[in-house]
Structure formats: structure tokens, C-alpha cells
């Protein structure tokens, strides 16, 4: 089911790899893997079910991954967010263990009083159906609403225009300020407010940290017990009290323990989202590089684009390996020589072979063969990748190699054209004939 029915919310654009498209200055704050949005008062409003919930500085985006569609609730329309409400609120630990297939009454609900145009007041509830720390999410939601980042974007545009006329200073878009910038005192005030909000953010962060620390020891012991139970109960899938193995892994990951009970790598939300983001990012550079790019190059480009939150080579490899599970337009490919590349799925080996074949039959190539550099130049790709293509073509029987003190070159494969019963036969047409006339002219 897609989100089409919920037309009372503005729609949100999704990339080809299932990531929400963010506007300039919109920053992601929190992700919940699975949530519903239930209108509580108005039965005519369609609910949203089974969506990835992305909290950004501007919106609450409900992304339905299977259909690559999304709806977004602007934070500006939230009049009041109510704290999370749970049935088992007296025992938070037990609620963590409750089975995921139970009715929504066990799932935490965050009620929101919203005001959607045209001036309609509604109450909706965000129902968190996955195992997640709802309090952290709520805290970030409140913070994002308070920060009103969407107003900064609106204010920065005219303010930037005014400021550039007044002082020639470039506008800043990433600050949560309310007053327009005018003059040097304006800049000073901006600095002041930046420091204050940074200080406030730090304080909030530390508060979260303190809360976590106090529970840390308890959680570690619990996690160890659960891990032990999992190890012994591997085949017992009907054990509802423990929840599914997937949830368990997520829980362990969130407490900082990565305990690979099996060899499966997919599952953690971080890697899934990274994988999708990588697929989005990588499409344009790969196409520009001729449909194929070495994994090392992608690693450099991606990390440079990310700026500060660098990913490790293992993360990159893992992200690529997850692409099998989604429908993304790129894939990881390993050549016989061990070189790994990322190529677009539309990339066709046959097309490359056709181009190589025609290159190898040009008079110069018939006389002297082609080197990886020649192929790179003609195909418009990196020499290392060109060599892979040439080796591939050799494997298919299109080319032959010539190894000499001059180096490593490839010729069009004439062995197929020679009749072993009649080795002196020179045909009247075809590539063998062309080669003979070119070769004898040279000698």
C-alpha cells in the first residue's frame, strides 16, 4: 500500500534509491524504521502505515519504502506535541520485550495537535511500531519544532539580499535565529546566538548521555543475558517473549554491542540508510565516468562529499553488498583480477565489446595492436578499468594478447579465422584478409 490515500498531507519526493529528498538547509535529525500515523479524531483522513519516519529540521517525513512514495507533515503545522503515551509505562523494560506483532495499544503513541490549511485543527498520533527509544525521538522532535529552522530559510533570503546591499556579506542559512541581520551588530548578535544555541544543544546532549550512563550498566547486563539466550535458542523462532532475532540485533546495536549471532549483515538501520544514500550519490559520478568506476575512487569521492562523518572501507563494502536487497540502479562487480568496481545496471558488457572490437580492427590497431591506454582514450574510462575490459574481451575470445619487451598489447583474435587444414589460404574478405594486406604492407 502506498501513501497515495493520505492526501490530506503534502507529498514528499523520494530518490530512486528510497531516500527522502531534502531541501536546502534541511537536515535529518532522527530516523525511526517503522511507524504509523493515525488521525485520531477525523475518520475521513486516511492513516499511514508501515513507513520509515524521518524527522528533519523542517518536516516529519513518512516514507513508504516498497512503493518509494512519501508524505510529509511540516513541523510548522504542529501546534503542540504531547509526550509519548504507553500502556506499560510503569515498566519500560517489559515494553521492550513485548512481541512486535501485538496490537498498537502496546506501541508508544506521540499525539500531535496540528493545524493544516485551510485552517483545520486536527489531532493525529505517531505510533512507533518498531523497537526504538521513543523518548529520544520525542526530545529531538520538540527541539526541532522549537528551532523553527524553516523560518530561518525564509528569513535568510530577504535578509541575505538586504545584507549584501548593505555590507556585501554572504547570508548564512544554517542558524536558528529570528531577527533579521543588519550591520555589524547584527553579525555580532548572530554569533552570540550561535554560541548560545550550541551551548544549549550540548547541554541537552549531555543530559541524554547522563540518562543513558545511569542505565548503561543495567543495559549491558541485560544485553549479555539476551545474547546468551539467543545463542542457545537459535532455532526457536516461536519464542515470542524474546521478540524476533532482527529486533534483538537492532537493540544490541543501539546499546553499542555488535553481536553477530549469524553471518547475516543486513538489518541494522544505519547500514540500510547508508546504502541507499550511497546509491543516490554514486549514480552521477559513475555515469560520467562511462558507466563504471573503481571502488577506491568511489570511496574517496563519497567521503569527500560527506565532509566530516567519514565512513570506513568496511562500511562502504557493506553498503554496496546491501544493494542486492533493494532495487537500486547500481551494482558492485568484482573482476577476475580482484579489482572491484561500481557499475550502473544499464551498463552493457556487449556494448563495450563491440566498441573494443571495432577499435581493434582499425588499420593502426591491426598493425600494432592496442594498449590499455589506447583503449582508455577511446572508451573514455580510466586505464585500469580499460585493462579490465580488454582482459574480459580476451576471455570471450575477441582479442589475443601480445607480450613483448614493448609491453602488453592486444590484437583482434585472428586464430578463429585461420583454417588449420589450409594455413596458406588467404581469404578475399574479412578481418584476416584486411590484416594480411595491412601487415604485409608494413614489412
Amino acid at each position: 500500500m502506498s501513501v497515495a490515500a493520505a492526501d490530506w498531507l503534502p507529498s514528499a519526493t523520494v530518490t530512486a534509491s528510497g531516500r527522502p529528498v531534502l531541501s536546502a538547509g534541511e537536515i535529518e535529525r532522527h530516523l525511526l524504521p517503522l511507524a504509523d500515523l493515525e488521525p485520531e479524531e477525523n475518520p475521513r483522513l486516511a492513516p499511514l502505515r508501515g513507513c520509515l519516519l524521518a524527522l528533519t529540521s523542517h518536516r516529519l517525513i513518512f516514507l513508504h519504502e516498497p512503493s518509494l512514495s512519501a508524505r510529509a507533515l511540516p513541523l510548522a503545522s504542529i501546534v503542540h506535541p504531547y509526550p509519548p503515551h504507553r500502556k506499560n509505562s510503569h515498566n519500560p523494560l517489559r515494553s521492550l520485550f513485548s512481541s512486535s506483532s501485538s496490537s498498537s495499544s502496546h506501541h508508544p503513541r506521540i499525539r500531535l495537535q496540528i493545524s493544516l490549511p485551510p485552517s483545520r485543527s486536527e489531532v493525529v498520533a505517531v505510533v512507533v511500531t518498531c523497537k526504538a527509544d521513543v523518548d529520544v525521538f520525542y526530545g529531538r522532535l520538540v527541539e526541532a519544532i522549537r528551532a523553527r529552522a524553516w523560518e530561518v530559510a525564509a528569513a535568510a533570503v530577504p535578509a541575505g539580499g538586504g545584507a549584501s546591499v548593505a555590507e556585501g556579506a554572504p547570508p548564512r542559512e544554517d542558524l536558528a535565529i529570528r531577527m533579521p541581520v543588519v550591520g555589524v551588530s547584527g553579525i555580532l548578535r548572530k554569533e552570540q546566538e550561535t554560541w548560545e544555541s550550541a551551548g544549549q544543544n550540548l547541554q541537552d546532549a549531555f543530559q541524554d548521555l547522563n540518562a543513558l550512563m545511569s542505565k548503561a550498566k543495567e543495559m549491558m547486563e541485560l544485553a549479555e543475558k539476551m545474547r546468551q539466550k539467543l545463542l542457545t535458542n537459535q532455532s526457536n523462532s516461536g519464542d515470542e517473549e524474546m521478540g524476533s532475532k532482527q529486533d534483538m540485533q537492532d537493540l544490541l546495536l543501539s546499546v553499542g554491542i555488535v553481536s553477530p549471532v549469524t553471518k547475516e549483515t543486513a538489518g541494522a538501520l544505519y547500514h540500510q540508510q547508508l546504502s541507499r544514500q550511497l546509491a543516490d550519490f554514486v549514480r552521477v559520478p559513475v555515469e560520467r565516468a562511462g558507466g563504471m568506476m573503481a571502488l577506491v575512487d568511489v570511496y574517496c569521492l563519497f567521503n569527500r562529499a560527506r565532509g566530516t562523518e567519514l565512513i570506513s572501507p568496511e562500511d562502504l563494502l557493506q553498503a554496496c553488498s546491501l544493494w542486492d536487497k533493494f532495487d537500486v540502479p547500481v551494482m558492485l562487480r568484482k573482476f577476475d583480477s580482484g579489482v572491484k568496481v561500481i557499475q550502473t545496471k544499464t551498463h552493457s558488457d556487449d556494448e563495450v565489446f563491440a566498441r573494443i572490437s571495432s577499435l581493434a580492427q582499425k588499420p593502426d590497431a591491426l598493425k600494432k595492436g592496442i594498449s590499455p591506454t589506447d583503449a582508455a582514450f577511446t572508451l573514455g574510462i580510466a586505464p585500469a578499468l580499460a585493462k579490465e575490459h580488454l582482459l574480459n574481451a580476451e576471455n570471450k575470445g575477441l582479442l589475443c594478447r601480445d607480450v613483448s619487451p614493448d609491453g602488453f598489447r592486444f590484437y583482434i583474435n585472428l586464430f578463429n579465422e585461420i583454417d588449420p587444414q589450409n594455413i596458406y589460404l588467404t581469404k578475399t574478405h574479412g578481418v584476416y584478409h584486411t590484416w594480411i594486406s595491412v601487415a604485409t604492407a608494413a614489412h
Binding site: G369, E394, N395, G397, C400, R401, D402, V403, S404, R409, Y411, N413, L414, F415, N416, I418, P420, I423, Y424, T426, Y432, W435, I436, A439, T440, H443
Partner: protein
């Protein structure tokens, strides 16, 4: 077309990849086949019986395109001939190879035909190898070892008898057609 003496080299002798041992199996099979035939033809034409891997063999390099076979390649092609029964390693270390551009059996038949056509009854080994009667035939200059094996084969079939000759260093053959 290139020639070495009277021997006509085929066009692909100028194809550089011909001198590089091809890694791809199908291509290699075709390459080996071409080299096997070329070696046999060349040796037959030049009446060469022994190829030594450690010495230069004119067929194994082409100065025109500045290419020659690597040691490994030579070994592969000669080993292929040995597998087919058209050659034999003379030494254990596979450094020298006897090329049977006619198999021993074929030599035996050739000798029989020659003997019948020319009405030869008794002759010596040396006469077969370098006598006037065999001048211009395949037998002229035949490798002594090959000749002896062919004659022994005929002896087994009762078509010939080898005996010690009058001089100490030669042997004679009596044919009974």
C-alpha cells in the same frame, strides 16, 4: 609471403600474438594446433630431426616483427607434439626433442615401398642414409636412430634382417619382400 630457404611461411607467422602463449583455453588450443603443424612441416622440409630448446631454432623467432617464443611456449608446443606421438623427448629434462614428422611406422612403410620399387635386396645402413640410390628421397639424410627403429620394426614383421657388415662400423640389411 616469407620464405626460409624453400619453405613458405604462412601469413600468420607475422601475427605477433602467435608468439605469445595465449592464456584463454580455446584460443590456446587453436594456437597449439597451428604451431604443431608448422613445426612438423618445417622439420620435414628442412629434414630436421632434433630440436634443442636451449639453442636457437629459426622457426621459433621472427625478426621481422621482433618476436620469439618463450622457453615455456616452446615446451608447451613440443609437449603437445609428444602427446600426439609425433615427437619424443630425448632426455629426461626435456631439453631435446626428436621430431617424427613421419612416424616410425610410416618410415617403415616408406622403406618397404622404396625397396620394392627399386628392387633392392641388400644394402647397408650408410647407403640408405647417404647412398646414390636414396638421393632425392625422404631417406636421404635420415636420422640414424630413426632409421634403425624403422628397420627393427620391419625385422619384427619379418620383412627385413639386420646383420653385422664386413667393416666393423657398419651394419647391413637384407630385405625379404
Amino acid at each position: 609471403m616469407q620464405r626460409q630457404g624453400d619453405f613458405k611461411l604462412p601469413p600468420f607467422f607475422n601475427y605477433p600474438p602467435y608468439f605469445t602463449l595465449q592464456p584463454v583455453r580455446e584460443t590456446r588450443e587453436k594456437q597449439v594446433q597451428l604451431w604443431k603443424d608448422l613445426i612438423l612441416d618445417y622439420c620435414k622440409s628442412h629434414k630436421m630431426y632434433i630440436i634443442s630448446l636451449e639453442e636457437d631454432f629459426p622457426l621459433f623467432s621472427n625478426p621481422n616483427i621482433e618476436r620469439s617464443l618463450s622457453y615455456e611456449a616452446k615446451e608447451v608446443f613440443l609437449a603437445a607434439l609428444v602427446s600426439e606421438g609425433r615427437a619424443e623427448w630425448i632426455d629426461k629434462s626435456h631439453k631435446k626433442c626428436l621430431i617424427l614428422w613421419l612416424r616410425i611406422q610410416d618410415w617403415a612403410n616408406y622403406i618397404l615401398d622404396f625397396v620394392r620399387e627399386n628392387g633392392l635386396e641388400v644394402t647397408t645402413i650408410e647407403d640408405i642414409r647417404s647412398g646414390i640410390e636414396t638421393h632425392g628421397t625422404e631417406l636421404a639424410g635420415i636420422d640414424r636412430g630413426v632409421l634403425m627403429r624403422a628397420l627393427k620394426l620391419l625385422e619384427q614383421k619379418g620383412k627385413a634382417t639386420i646383420f653385422k657388415g664386413t667393416s666393423a662400423d657398419d651394419e647391413g640389411v637384407k630385405f625379404s619382400a
